[in-house]
């Protein structure tokens, strides 16, 4: 253990470690009712009738809501408005909600939910996106005119000409699985119809403004009449947007129609059944290289299973498209990407957002290519990777920040001693019981949303007469510690002590919409706004002192709670008091707008992201020859974080991301049978446990990013996007067997596999 580490700092740690933190399910109001969703047995069906009469008679039931009760719009979504908040015309997947039972207790609501009767005509379900793509396939959403949700492409150079110059051509198909975010806290919402006519919403949500949009759609009326309040939340990982917003919308409707506070608290089974997952991908990939290992040409087709509704599939697959060649320079690229409707569970945002799938493909292929070319995995990457001034496959010149790809990779190679470990790898042969392997992979990642969406954020600093400071930003705390990061950035940039600062619990009624907490943008965008607001406040203080004492604005400085003004020194409090006395508010509003990005849908070219982050991870492991059991020995990650607000917290992001990546690579899979999810709880959905995981270590690389006011780069997602290919490469180096499908299952097939390579 590295005991010399500085301590972690979190504004919410005390509340959480003492059990005082109030999560949404811990909130209660007098006379609160309870709501429970009703599902159907169908996967795809036409609804004929929903009969709620029996349920209504059941004990304690106050109301049973269906699509007929919706005053606003029942169809909504962030991109395409195809979500049915209540099933209305059809059942599109097994997680569609037919009705919401509202009763005096949750138990009574559950009992009554079994009495809602659905009459429906079963329709053939389409479960393979490749079937959905066939020209004669039935349409899942006929009003969309196609089963294709979206297409993206990259066109660069001429791939046919490129392949002609190649000595080695690789062609492989890769497949990845559905996975569940598995936030420990299931979906929950509490809605309170306030006496002033405002609907107050608490929910386990990732983005209060997104939740407000869903609630507003279903209820109708004005945004200003809904107040969504930030509440401590038990994990999100991208998964607490659409689904929980829909849960909140239904709950708000129940509160509106009954005039009572209503809670809807999901059981794990409902959560896994209804909530969106990470997209399974099928990727057909052709890569051509010269014999000295230079990638000349790439042609690929990416098919993403979008499930029953669009959600954010177009954005997720856009990132996959932009990053479809990994952190490598390739002259000729032809990529076609399709997001496709099926009758499977909905898929949407999940930590990584379209990169874990593509990194698995590209980084596996790089190791395959290295062997074909007689190079080491390190050497082939060195020959192709992006460097300062490189042009990406979408034509973006990387010159506005430090391109730290090689620096990051070398950091791992040195600390992990990769070259020596690589020499020790068994490649399927060993005299002992165990085979040994080590592997690594690298990636780069466009920062924040990129050309996916509008990207700006704000922060309010409100200094109180006693010198204490209220801070709030448009970024929502998902459990990752963003509030704490904001406080740390403010203390650093304003030159004041941390104990002065209280993060004000924001609501949608107190600060402007700051965009969703996705794409690892919290620290970059929120931190950027804080840095800018701090600058503005300093400016305000300086102007005030300049007018008052006549000292030069440039000579005014704040550090360690002391304001220096020429030769004068004041305590921070004193200056604030002076300002209040002079009728000057030490109150500022700071904004950070992401720098311009560009994108041309026609040819898939443009400056896709305003900056990039660089990552490398490695692992060593053994496989028992007889049992096939994989044992992870130790794992390591290096990421260029720009500037870390708190070292321990940054490391926490590394370890959490790596663990989730290990789950993705080796353990996790949402299993379905004819569109119905089989493993709806943690007894059958296999999450990484303490005993599955290796000791992990972290190398924080700091190249302060000039495009980000606080210097920080987003780090939540890069940490989660590499472990699958790292493990695939390590297992190859160990067993000599290449896996093209996730999760990698060595255990069941190992003996037969080992025969192949002997």
């Amino acid at each position: 253990m590295e005991k010399e580490n500085p301590k972690a700092w979190r504004n919410d740690a005390y509340a959480k470690v003492t059990g005082r933190a109030r999560y949404t399910d811990d909130i209660k109001f007098p006379f609160m009712l309870h709501a429970v969703p009703v599902y159907s047995d169908f996967v795809h069906a036409e609804i004929l009738n929903i009969d709620t009469s029996e349920a209504l008679k059941s004990k304690g039931v106050v109301k049973v809501l269906t699509s007929k009760d919706v005053p606003g719009v029942n169809r909504f979504g962030q991109i395409i408005k195809d979500f049915r908040i209540f099933a209305e015309d059809r059942i599109f997947y097994n997680g569609d909600v037919v009705a919401l039972v509202v009763a005096d207790t949750r138990a009574n609501a559950i009992k009554a939910s079994e009495l809602v009767k659905l009459e429906a005509k079963e329709l053939p379900s389409i479960l393979d996106p490749e079937d959905a793509l066939k020209p004669d396939s039935a349409l899942i959403h006929p009003e969309q005119g196609s089963n294709i949700i979206n297409e993206h492409k990259v066109r660069r150079g001429n791939t046919d000409e490129g392949f002609k110059k190649c000595d080695i051509i690789l062609e492989e198909k890769f497949e990845t699985q559905f996975i569940e975010h598995s936030y420990m806290e299931p979906e929950v919402a509490v809605c309170n119809p306030r006496h002033d006519g405002v609907m107050e919403v608490y929910a386990s949500m990732q983005h209060p403004f997104s939740t407000r949009r869903f609630v507003n759609a279903l209820l109708g009326g004005r945004l200003a009449d809904i107040e969504v309040i930030s509440t401590p939340m038990g994990g999100g990982f991208g998964g607490k947007d659409d689904t929980v917003s829909i849960v909140a919308a239904r709950t708000a409707l129940a509160a509106k129609l009954t005039g009572k506070p209503v809670k809807c608290s999901y059981a794990r089974e409902w959560s896994i059944r209804e909530s969106y997952k990470r997209h399974p991908y099928k990727v057909y990939y052709k890569m051509g290289l010269t014999k000295d290992g230079i990638i000349k040409s790439v042609k690929c087709k990416i098919i993403a299973d979008g499930g029953a509704y669009c959600s954010v599939t177009p954005w997720v697959t856009w990132r996959s498209t932009v990053q479809c060649c990994g952190p490598y320079q390739v002259e000729n690229v032809h990529c076609d990407t399709y997001g496709v409707y099926t009758n499977n569970v909905v898929t949407g945002a999940m930590r990584g957002f379209g990169s874990p799938q593509m990194n698995f493909v590209v980084e596996s292929l790089m190791d395959i290519a290295a062997r074909k070319c007689g190079l080491t995995p390190v050497e082939i990457r060195r020959r192709n990777m992006v460097r300062q001034g490189s042009i990406t496959i979408t034509g973006q010149k990387l010159d506005n920040h430090k391109v730290a790809m090689e620096e990051t990779m070398d950091a791992i190679l040195n600390k992990f001693d990769y070259e020596n470990k690589y020499k020790k790898c068994s490649f399927g042969k060993s005299d002992s019981e165990e085979l040994y392997g080590a592997g690594f992979a690298i990636s780069y990642r466009g920062m924040s949303l990129g050309a996916e969406g509008t990207d700006f954020n704000s922060a309010i600093i409100n200094v109180q007469p006693d010198g204490s400071i209220l801070l709030e930003t448009g970024i929502h705390e998902n459990g990752q510690g963003s509030e704490s990061a904001m406080c740390l950035i403010l203390a650093r940039d304003l030159g004041v002590s941390l104990d002065r600062i209280r993060y004000r619990r924001p609501s949608t009624s107190t600060i402007p919409d700051g965009g969703t907490t996705v794409a690892s943008r919290g620290t970059v965008m929120g931190g950027g706004a804080v840095t800018n607001a701090a600058k503005e406040l300093k400016h305000k203080i300086a102007n005030f002192l300049n007018a008052k004492c006549g000292c030069n604005i440039e000579d005014i400085d704040i550090s360690n709670d002391i304001v220096t003004c020429g030769k004068e020194k004041y305590n921070f409090e004193e200056v604030i008091k002076m300002m209040y006395n002079a009728q000057e508010y030490p109150h500022v509003f700071g904004v950070f707008k992401a720098p311009k990005v560009s994108w041309n849908e026609e040819n898939g070219q443009g400056d896709a992201y305003f900056s990039w982050t660089y990552s490398c991870q490695a692992i060593e492991l053994t496989v028992n020859k007889k049992t096939g059991k994989v044992k992870l020995l130790n794992a390591i990650a290096a990421h260029d974080v720009g500037r870390a607000a708190n070292e321990q917290m940054t490391k926490g992001q590394f370890f959490g991301g790596m663990a989730m990546g290990i789950g993705y690579g080796l353990l996790e899979e949402v299993k379905t049978d004819k569109g119905i999810i089989l493993n709806t709880n943690f007894n059958s959905y296999r999450l990484p446990r303490t005993t599955d995981l290796p000791e992990m270590s972290a190398i924080i690389i700091e190249n302060s990013d000039p495009n980000s006011p606080s210097g920080a780069k987003g780090i939540g997602e890069p940490t989660n996007e590499l472990m699958a290919p790292v493990i695939a490469n390590a297992i190859y180096n160990e067993t000599g067997k290449r896996f093209f499908k996730l999760p990698i299952k060595v255990s069941t097939k190992v003996q037969e596999d080992l025969k192949i390579c002997e």
């Binding site: 005390y14 459990g479 303490t690 005993t691």
Partner: protein
């Protein structure tokens, strides 16, 4: 029975009541969480006679005459944090915090029995507690660091 060292009388009519519900609804001890309700995650773990028990399937009758400790009872008498809680904060073992009460209590029970554990033993002891945020690394760091206190 006692809950957090205070005696609690349970009328016969309540003996079949779910323990989690009783703690959360009647006593407002909301540190005990529901996350799977089938003994697979440890979010509902409390100490019953100093053993960590996942109580999602338990009813009040099951803990008759027992001493129950929830996270709300972990602090020292004077309201300061227990060294194990302090270590969780300092080592960055808390992210979303949803697993934290169960983790802290399970680690507490374990350290009372084994105050000089190896990291491997800590991993084994926390095997039933899921955490999706931290990758467990810093949780194990915290437990290892706090173990010193239990040796005294």
């Amino acid at each position: 029975m006692t809950i957090n060292k205070k005696p609690v009388e349970v009328p016969d009519s309540m003996k079949e009541r779910k323990l989690v519900e009783f703690l959360r609804e009647e006593l407002d001890l909301t540190g005990v969480k529901n996350a799977c309700e089938m003994k697979s995650c440890g979010a509902c773990a409390v100490l019953v006679n100093n053993k960590s028990i996942r109580i999602c399937n338990s009813v009040l009758k099951d803990v008759e005459n027992c001493d129950v400790l929830t996270i709300e009872g972990m602090e020292n008498e004077d309201g300061t944090l227990h060294p194990l809680q302090k270590a969780f904060i300092d080592y960055g073992a808390i992210q979303c915090g949803f697993c934290t009460p169960g983790m802290v209590l399970t680690a507490h029970a374990f350290l009372m029995e084994n105050p000089k554990p190896t990291r491997e033993q800590i991993r084994k002891a926390l095997q039933s507690n899921l955490c999706r945020c931290t990758g467990y690394q810093q949780i194990i760091d915290a437990v290892e660091a706090a173990s010193e206190f239990y040796r005294k």
